[in-house]
Subunit: 371 residues, 2 copies
């Protein structure tokens, strides 16, 4: 089962409220999805993810393909059982990692030959193989295998790459067997070129995917340019299908994406910066290792009601980071994910109450962003 | 408040059942105490410690003295508040670490000058300073500052060292202010020499401490020798006071100690080996990284009912270790501590039922020890 219900469109902007139904539960949109690259959201248990109200997590086909390998997860009965997570999972296609992590890749029409970033061994991924792997993983939402072009790149380069992504999307769709239980999303490419985004979107919409992602953004371009591309790209996307912006996880990028009609987003950023000791608070970012917190017995964020802010002081968490204790990484991770998940919950509430733009302005002012 | 109630003495051996009452709760003995060196039991939250029924944890004066420093914990209102743990805490005196971790130590009658193992700066600990620090930490059970002699060492060396430990114990007792809330234990030294253990015990018993530890064992000597020393040493200890064997945390050492009348023990071993991927099970130790577990979908220990064994497979935990995921360290730690805490619970039950020796034999047979 996979259904998307568009509950409301904002009167103020293109923001939307929706609900996705999957075999593993419902997802209220707009939503931020924590990333569990290697079948674990780093440092966290599934129970902790549920406590902070994570509704869906993302996992990475490329990493799981290399370790533990598809055979192990098949034997386990799929990724949900393997990692003990019974809520929805979205898997990417491996496309992005093949281009960003591995060396010596050789792209042909058939697929991509690359070297494992772990042991240098030769590997091959294609649209069909990516779909096969994702069918074994048993994710609720799968992604088409795409080519991720660099930024900046010429119109000619992006056009060529985008057209291949379209042909690969067709092959993914034709190869995908488990359509009743796993929804395969198409990925719109086209770089920063309006005509190519339009061509990409129109071609993919022809294939009638149950959802569409916007790929190739948040790749180093300025926020204004991302906004511009999103502005026109979401106009080419069907209203009755979920829209997923890949790789976005700072509060401002999330606000701007939602404002332009995006329903889903993911990023390693909140968990990665947490492990470096940077936490997000209602009054901006905070580097907990900083000496000024050594005898600060207030919570990370006095407006936050997460487990961490209810039980621990900045001084204690700073101490944990200062002596390299794993509990520090855990507490910062819980807090940051709770922060973004709660932010999205409040964003949904603001869309419901038609005061999204006011909520955004207030948040930007307190967080220290320029509105 | 500090009370010890001797509930029962075994008919089979010197094993005892008891109960310690402190301001932060009761402790059923014999007990294993997890170690939280730097104000955190590595990888775990206080809630997780309670879930595995940890009744008391140990923390290290030496480490907390260096980082975050006593001033920070004083400002926090003590160690319990600082780390969010509201059950009993035992702190060691720093004596052991001064001798095992730091360089260039200079021992005088006054105390020990040493270099911090963190930054090489000069530090000084004495009986009075150790008591002052532990008073600030606010632990329920404090330890006297002692001199830890190496093994092996001559009778002359040990006698000299043991006598200093006795003089230091007197100074600790005289300096200790907060006797209503914090019980100060004496530490019996004397190496592997019966006459010295007796002298040490008799001298300390004169001071009427609320509890006594056996120090200087499990320092590299064979198990048989530890057993021999324990056999006579516990005979010199009062029956109506708790007896704590320092630094013991393997199942066999715990069984042998309890059999000889020990009530409390602590060790970093179960948490340390967990982080190296070694787990204790009812049929012996298991190195989870081993390739033979890669598609083993049974729990770590099929006889275990801990959170880890109820929810995760060996294959998954092996995968986590194989890709250096922190959740692996967490799961192995929870399991190992649960294993030892449950073992002590079962040992208490066996003492109650007068079948401790049978229980020990059964356990040794299954675990792969020679009885």
């Amino acid at each position: 089962m996979f259904e998307f219900e568009l509950i409301k469109e904002s009167k103020e902007c293109k923001a939307r409220l929706g609900k996705i139904k999957t075999n593993h539960g419902e997802i209220e949109t707009p939503i931020f999805m924590p990333v569990g690259t290697r079948a674990t959201v780093k440092t966290m248990t599934p129970e902790e993810l549920k406590e902070i109200e994570a509704q869906i997590i993302l996992s990475n086909t490329y990493h799981l393909f290399l370790k533990p390998g598809t055979d192990i997860i098949k034997e386990a009965g799929g990724l949900h059982k393997f990692m003990n997570w019974d809520k929805p999972i979205l898997t990417d296609s491996g496309g992005f990692q093949v281009f960003s992590l591995s060396d010596n890749r050789k792209i042909t029409e058939e697929g991509v030959e690359f070297r494992s970033h772990i042991d240098g061994s030769k590997k091959f991924l294609s649209p069909e193989i990516s779909v096969d792997i994702q069918n074994i993983l048993g994710s609720d939402i799968m992604m088409c295998f795409d080519e991720c072009a660099p930024y900046p790149a010429s119109h000619e380069y992006i056009e060529h790459s985008m057209n291949r992504t379209t042909r690969w999307a067709k092959r993914c769709k034709e190869h995908h067997k488990n359509t009743d239980n796993q929804a395969l999303f198409g990925i719109i490419q086209g770089g920063m070129y309006k005509d190519l985004r339009r061509q990409s979107a129109e071609a993919l919409v022809e294939f009638d995917f149950p959802g569409y992602a916007v790929g190739g953004l948040s790749v180093g371009e300025p926020l204004e340019l991302m906004n511009e591309v999103l502005d026109y790209t979401t106009d080419y996307m069907p209203k009755d299908k979920p829209r997923y912006l890949m790789g976005v996880g700072t509060p401002d990028y999330l606000f701007e994406a939602v404002e332009r009609g995006i329903d889903m987003a993911d990023c390693v950023l909140p968990t990665r910066i947490a492990r470096n000791g940077t936490v997000m608070t209602s009054s901006g970012k905070l580097v907990i290792k900083n000496g000024k917190y050594k005898s600060d017995f207030t919570p990370l964020d006095s407006e936050c009601d997460c487990y961490v802010c209810k039980n621990y002081s900045r001084a204690y968490i700073r101490h944990l980071f200062n002596v390299d204790e794993i509990l520090g990484l855990r507490l910062a991770t819980i807090h940051n994910l709770h922060f973004l998940i709660t932010l999205m919950k409040n964003i949904r509430e603001s869309i419901k109450n038609d005061n999204f733009l006011e909520f955004k302005d207030d948040f930007y002012g307190k967080y220290g962003y320029n509105s």
